[in-house]
């Protein structure tokens, strides 16, 4: 039978595979066809894996033996900072261009048990530092809705792959908006789970007090299925939430009340069209039976500033390990050990990575540490406390996912602060360990997607899914 990739969901694909309408190999070949046609222009995938046939055989055998799960044979795109044993994982950096993973990350291990198909690794901003996928060491990725525009970032390749039917679902990572923002720019659903919900074992780290792994897909139900498959405790990540604590979370029913932080909405110079779409979204939620409440969060406006102190500080420590000795690139012209470090790092880190490492080094240096890092840690706590208090009265709070629409390639690249402002609405969830989702909320006349962001309390992903469903049923 013909496979229509446009409206395919995991459930539909599974039903067809189960009933034998098509085989895993047929499904995978459909996606490979699209990749062959579209990837040269969009550059979502950096590599298509050479072991797909082997993976397909494993999945088909699972169907034959009656061992298939709902995810068996489902084609995935994997962000380039997620380790798959035997494959290159470069974080789209020249310094790791030939780095081959020697073990599977936690998420990959979980997905392998389901027999999913990893089609290939997707482009991203170098070490996940960026909001447009333009800082990749291996070329830009283009937005499938308008090839002159960015797909968002840093998980831009993962987003563009799914939006252009090159994969059914994808795995991305987030330090501050890197799943939600490209999902919004590419018309997808993307979830940033609670900090500690999904293990980061085997993920190339950026900001360790903020990093989290999540899923992106066209359909809400697909994101929910993948989230449930990768969610869980892992002893290899010391920030992984224990089973005991997970069980202890009281899943109180929805109050059907949602907070709108009005003052915050205009903090980043919001595009009028985005604001108009947001107001329409509020009306839709009201129609779905939600009460919208103005919430005042006096410290939330500092979120992005706090983030741009804490994140570079953590970046400068995390990226210290790339030294040209143990793995990755190593400069051959160096005369002594110091030069091995400095030349390897100087030549192989891109501009944004170098800028953030230096910024972090500055923030953590003697004389500035208190004024920046320590203050930021305290303001972070203030923001978190305000949000926790807010949740006593509301289920979740909403904002647009991004204050602007997908912008043109090159438009913000040379002005770091204007690029950083993409993340303004993303920051609170990462700083306060909350779970957050971006869902599509319509398009402009020229066809550029809008996104609505919903942020719920610690480990209440179930609320994100219920509210999103109610919203979608009212579009």
């Amino acid at each position: 039978m013909d496979i229509n990739l446009d409206n395919l969901t995991i459930q539909k694909a599974h039903d067809h595979l189960e009933s034998g309408d098509f085989k895993v190999s047929d499904l995978v070949n459909e996606y490979l066809k699209v990749i062959k046609e579209k990837n040269p222009k969009i550059n979502a995938f950096l590599e298509i894996f050479d072991d797909i046939n082997k993976q397909v055989k494993i999945a088909e055998r699972m169907f034959e033996n009656g061992e298939a799960t709902i995810l068996t044979g489902i084609p995935f795109a994997i962000k380039d900072n997620i380790l798959i044993k035997g494959h290159i994982a470069s974080a789209s950096s020249k310094i790791l261009a030939n780095h081959r993973a020697v073990y599977d990350s936690f998420v990959i291990e979980k997905l392998k048990k389901h027999g999913v198909i990893f089609l290939g690794r997707t482009n991203m901003d170098e070490f996940a530092m960026g909001s447009s996928t333009e800082t990749s060491g291996f070329g830009v990725t283009r937005n499938p809705f308008d090839l002159e525009r960015v797909p968002g970032g840093s998980s831009g390749g993962s987003a563009a792959a799914v939006a252009s039917n090159m994969a059914l679902v994808s795995i991305g990572t987030e330090t501050c908006g890197s799943i939600r923002q490209p999902s919004s720019f590419c018309g997808l659903v993307g979830i940033k789970p609670t900090y500690g919900a999904v293990s980061r074992s085997g993920i190339i780290a950026m900001g360790s007090s903020l990093d989290q792994v999540g899923a992106m897909a066209k359909h809400l139900e697909d994101v929910e299925i993948v989230f449930k498959a990768i969610n869980g405790y892992d002893s290899k990540d010391s920030t992984s939430i224990s089973e005991e604590l997970r069980k202890g979370v009281v899943k109180s029913p929805l109050k059907k009340k949602i907070g709108v932080p009005k003052e915050f909405l205009t903090a980043g110079g919001i595009d009028e069209r985005v604001l108009k779409n947001f107001n329409e979204n509020c009306e839709k939620l009201k129609k779905a039976g939600y009460e919208l409440v103005d919430v005042s969060l006096p410290s939330i406006k500092y979120s992005l500033a706090v983030y741009y102190i804490i994140m570079p500080a953590e970046v400068s420590s995390n990226l210290a390990r790339f030294d040209g000795i143990r793995y990755g690139a190593s400069d051959k012209e160096a005369d002594n050990l110091f030069e091995v470090y400095s030349k390897t790092r100087g030549k192989n880190f891109g501009k944004e990575a170098r800028r953030r490492i230096l910024l972090g080094t500055y923030i953590l240096s003697h004389g500035y540490y208190d004024a920046y890092y320590n203050t930021a840690v305290k303001v972070r706590k203030m923001i978190k406390d305000e949000l926790l208090k807010m949740y006593e009265n509301v289920d979740a709070f909403i904002t647009p996912t991004v204050p602007f629409l997908p912008f043109k390639l090159g438009e913000r690249l040379n002005d770091p602060v204007s690029m950083y402002l993409c993340d303004i609405f993303s920051a609170p969830a990462n700083l306060a360990d909350l779970c957050s989702i971006s869902i599509p909320s319509g398009k402009t006349e020229e066809g550029l997607p809008f996104g609505l962001q919903i942020t719920a309390p610690f480990l209440r992903e179930d609320m994100l899914f219920s509210i999103s469903k109610d919203f979608e049923n009212n579009i």
């Binding site: 790092r345 100087g346 500055y362 972070r380």
Partner: protein
């Protein structure tokens, strides 16, 4: 920020870069620091006094394990060294240190 200060940071971070790039970074720092400096308003208002500096995440704890060897000797050596830029006799090879 002075060029000298950027040079010192680049040295501390072990990143070799041109003077031209350092000047560019000094310019970027100016706008980035101007943006993040807004958090200083919070400290000026005295709002931070009551905030404790303890860990943000109450659920995070150290995960330890007993100091015992759990794999066969050399089990992973080849895999790991395959990724290293320079090796000799099963060791990483580096430039002379002393």
């Amino acid at each position: 920020m002075e060029l000298e200060e950027i040079k010192k940071l680049a040295d501390l971070a072990r990143i070799d870069m041109s003077e031209e790039e350092m000047l560019e970074i000094a310019k970027d720092f100016k706008s980035i620091l101007a943006y993040v400096d807004q958090i200083k308003e919070v400290s000026k208002n005295g709002n931070l006094q009551s905030i404790s500096n303890d860990k943000n995440n109450y659920f995070i704890r150290n995960v330890g394990r007993d100091d015992i060897v759990t794999n066969k000797g050399g089990e992973f050596t080849q895999d790991i060294l395959a990724d290293a830029p320079d090796t000799k006799d099963g060791f990483l090879k580096v430039k002379q240190i002393l």
